[in-house]
Symmetry: C2
Subunit: 199 residues, 2 copies
């Protein structure tokens, strides 16, 4: 059986949970807290030297880190990942966008507001994170005003990747009401069969 | 013919150039300077609303942004991208690692030292970028002490993605002599047929 090493409140780990649930795959979840330093133990670093969750342990005992790689691995050969070459590239386009231009702003703003004390010096990062996060949301809005999903005209792992930290962006101080097409897409994603909640 | 909108000195654009040269694909290069604001024009935003290079224009006029997505698109069906499901996931694992844990430190440190004036306030970011960049290099060193390349035991787009900003990491103040396995891998990548230089 597959094993996920993850933290329940992490959007990156939630992506893997959502894909496994929607693909109806059996899996075991091992909770690992980055806040308690559990990704820095010798045991965990043997699974992922980059000290991050999620990590997927395959049936044969191999470990696969990076949520984007895990999503593509799980979705291969299923409706969640198209077979067409350009459609696959579009899925990856949005998954790389998420990891480079979206998550480092929206997830980090959320983490500062949710886990740091109110007097944390890291609050000084918030204006820049919010400016850049809003830029990412505006790029999504532009796309979703014309298309129902991010790639290939249908629900895919690109939507799972972008849903994870967009649906809880208010935790990071973002006003989703400014992005009506994003809000409508969030509702479409939530209505997909097998959808489960974060946490 | 394919067209690349790119900036010659950008590592992210160099990845696309390197793949096209090694795959012996004909292409046209259109130089776009982010420093002169050329990714913020209305014309460029129609190609990529996220205002970044590289963008690949396909034969049919469609635009594909995100270097990672472009690399996978170009490499599909060639020796640069394995067909096996887990090997493909390993390629993506390292490409997502590069975009999330490597490029935002190593490329940004290089950009600050190379393009910002010596009295730029952005120099204050350097210690943190260098700490994190060295962490990424240490993760690479650990892998390359055991394996010749990043995925599937052979040269792939994962190596192209990681080579781009690693080979010029000294520009960002990183001491590559601390990472002998990384240095040996850089030499192996440079020795691949069709290798071309940055710039």
């Amino acid at each position: 059986m597959l094993t996920v090493y993850g933290m329940a409140d992490s959007g990156n780990c939630y992506k893997v949970k959502l894909a496994l649930e929607q693909l109806k795959r059996a899996y075991r979840w091992v909770e690992v807290s980055t806040k308690r330093g559990e990704t820095r133990t010798r045991e965990f670093l043997a699974r992922n030297p980059n000290a991050q969750v999620p990590v997927l342990e395959l049936e044969d005992g191999q470990f696969l880190p990076e949520s984007g790689a895990i999503l593509c691995y799980l979705a291969e050969g299923t409706p969640l990942l198209p077979a067409d070459r350009l459609e696959r590239a579009r899925v990856l386009q949005w998954m790389f966008f998420e990891q480079y231009s979206h998550e480092p702003c929206i997830a980090v703003a959320r983490a500062i507001l949710r886990y740091q004390p109110p007097d944390s010096p890291r609050r000084a990062e918030l204006p820049r994170l919010q400016e850049r996060g809003n830029r990412a949301l505006a790029v999504m809005e532009l796309h979703l005003a014309r298309e129902p999903f991010f790639a290939a005209g249908r629900y895919s792992v690109a939507d799972i990747a972008l849903y994870a930290y967009t649906h809880c962006a208010a935790d990071g101080g973002f006003e989703l009401a400014r992005y009506p097409a994003v809000l409508a897409w969030l509702a479409r994603v939530k209505a997909q069969p097998g959808h489960v909640l974060l946490g």
